[in-house]
């Protein structure tokens, strides 16, 4: 008799119709503890304002319209930068994955550029673009480019050669081979790149907005610091967390939709 069998049987903890809510238990608990710590004076308000104060600050900013405007500006920068950088990364990944010549021409250069931390370019970017939109878009696009490029390339390189041989035997044209074998085969890896890129996208944007911007969430936080509005600073940080979570969830939904064939995504 094995050890597992000898253990008393315990009914597994299951919350009825609330499986989706389980993941929110921990964040909620953290907020509660935080609120309690502030109420009791254990954490002074100068160090960390209570969640209720943060919510109140958020409410005021919401009423003035400032919050919505700043979120929208940040969201727009993130999205446009992501589409530009991701699109270029995807295109290079495809070209270098499919063509030896293209790979020989550009891969070495790209690998060298990759090793420069893109945030190190901020001084240069400010000199080039000033602090207007193109500076932020450039930085986000550059940051997003590499994870998508590398994972697209890797995905295409690791498509099962036996499947490619099969496709050729069954008379698939190059276009068909790409559409039916290579691209779907590379898709899981491309999604890994997208999720990495989403993380880098927010990181880049926050840094760029705190250093050189006149609008956006990062700018809002920096302004608040000037006026010692610590509740607004904390609010901005929390909004970043929520936006990051939203982006991640969006990519998960997309994965579920396109990778339903994959054993890891099958519903049981």
């Amino acid at each position: 008799m094995s050890l597992i069998e000898s253990l008393p049987r315990v009914r597994s903890l299951r919350l009825p119709r609330a499986d989706g809510l389980v993941q929110w238990i921990v964040p909620l608990a953290i907020i509660l503890v935080w609120q309690a710590a502030c109420e009791t004076g254990f954490v002074p308000a100068r160090v960390l304002p209570a969640p209720s104060d943060v919510a109140l600050a958020g409410w005021k900013l919401l009423l003035s319209g400032e919050l919505a405007r700043n979120i929208w500006v940040s969201f727009w920068r993130a999205g446009v930068g992501f589409v530009i950088g991701g699109g270029i990364g995807f295109a290079f990944g495809l070209m270098n994955g499919l063509s030896q010549l293209s790979n020989k021409l550009s891969d070495t250069t790209l690998q060298m550029v990759r090793n420069i931390p893109h945030l190190a370019l901020i001084p240069l970017v400010i000199l080039w673009f000033g602090i207007d939109e193109s500076a932020k878009l450039f930085l986000v696009a550059l940051g997003v480019f590499f994870p998508i490029y590398l994972n697209t390339l890797h995905g295409i390189r690791t498509v099962d050669p036996q499947l490619i041989e099969m496709g050729r035997i069954y008379g698939m044209s190059d276009g068909e081979l790409f559409r039916r074998v290579i691209f779907p085969g590379a898709l899981p890896s491309i999604f890994v790149g997208v999720r990495f890129a989403l993380g880098i996208m927010w990181l880049t944007l926050i840094v760029a907005e705190t250093i050189a911007a006149s609008s956006g969430l990062g700018y809002m936080a920096m302004q608040a610091r000037e006026f010692m509005q610590i509740d607004v600073v904390v609010l901005s940080i929390l909004i970043y967390a929520v936006l990051g979570k939203l982006a991640d969830s969006a990519s998960r939904v997309l994965e579920q939709l396109t990778l339903s064939w994959h054993p890891a995504f099958q519903k049981h």
Binding site: I169, L187, S260, W261, H262
Partner: protein, 278 residues
């Protein structure tokens, strides 16, 4: 009797109740004259990979519709021979001809791995086998027919990932059959299956070969499989055909019968001799 197949594994080929009729039909095959299969003629075939000469002069004629098994020790060149016949490798010297013009759809290969597209449902995987006819209006109907042939018509909407190894291999067989090939080349198609599934797959192969009357070339390391299925067994040693054995045992063949066992024994002896005296 050795026919201990009263119980069936999960993906065993569904044996219809008219199994005896089926067997009688197989027995009649000998009397049938014309076959739609392709004849195969190979002359002076040589193939090297770098300094390694894998095939050193193969001469072979396979009449239309024959079931030929190729056996040999691993590395003897049997898979290379099959890949050359299927056009997957280029010939160094010699000729391979099929008695006339062939279309790519006429010759199909089945590998040890099913090589199904994991992101395409069973039905679309079978449709891949239609080659250039994929876009034709009857593509769906033909794929359906091929799936029914291998007994998987109820799985057409499934993802390959949920199928068992035997079922995947049957989908691969349906994909190979859907273009009505005139020659089917099998490269150890049952090598990765468990013993029971293997036996039911062997019966399935024998049945579709009989029904569709293609020429079958089966590369296998399993001598008992070779003598059970083939009209003729070729033993390849050191890149040449060392033995060409006719299997004059009427179908349906009873697995484990004395004549099959005797033939298997003599072929195995040939193979083992070269192992002892290389």
């Amino acid at each position: 009797m050795q026919e201990a197949l009263r119980f069936r594994s999960a993906d065993a080929e569904p044996l219809d109740r008219a199994d005896f009729l089926e067997q009688a039909r197989l027995a009649r095959r000998g009397s049938e004259g014309l076959s739609r299969g392709l004849p195969l003629t190979i002359r002076g075939l040589r193939k090297s990979f770098g300094d390694n000469e894998v095939l050193r002069g193969i001469d072979l004629h396979v009449p239309a519709g024959q079931f030929v098994a190729i056996v040999g020790r691993s590395g003897c060149g049997k898979s290379t021979l099959l890949r050359l016949i299927a056009g997957l490798e280029t010939v160094d010297a010699g000729t391979i001809s099929f008695g006339g013009e062939t279309r790519p759809e006429d010759i199909r290969v089945m590998f040890q791995e099913p090589r199904l597209l994991p992101w395409a449902r069973v039905m679309s995987n079978v449709e891949v086998g239609l080659g250039r006819d994929r876009a034709s209006s009857d593509a769906q109907a033909r794929a359906d027919k091929a799936l029914t042939e291998v007994g998987l018509d109820d799985k057409r909407g499934q993802w390959p990932a949920v199928l068992s190894g035997g079922q995947k291999q049957r989908v691969a067989l349906a994909r190979a059959l859907v273009s009505d090939p005139r020659m089917l080349a099998f490269d150890e198609p049952l090598g990765a299956l468990d013993a029971l599934t293997r036996i039911s797959m062997q019966r399935l192969l024998e049945r579709v070969w009989h029904d569709q009357a293609f020429t079958a070339i089966l590369v296998t390391h399993d001598v008992s499989e070779a003598v059970a299925l083939a009209d003729r067994v070729l033993v390849i040693e050191n890149g040449r055909i060392a033995h060409d054995v006719n299997v004059d045992i009427p179908r349906p063949r009873r697995r484990g019968s004395a004549d099959l066992a005797a033939l298997e024994g003599s072929i195995l002896r040939h193979l083992l001799q070269t192992a002892d005296h290389p």
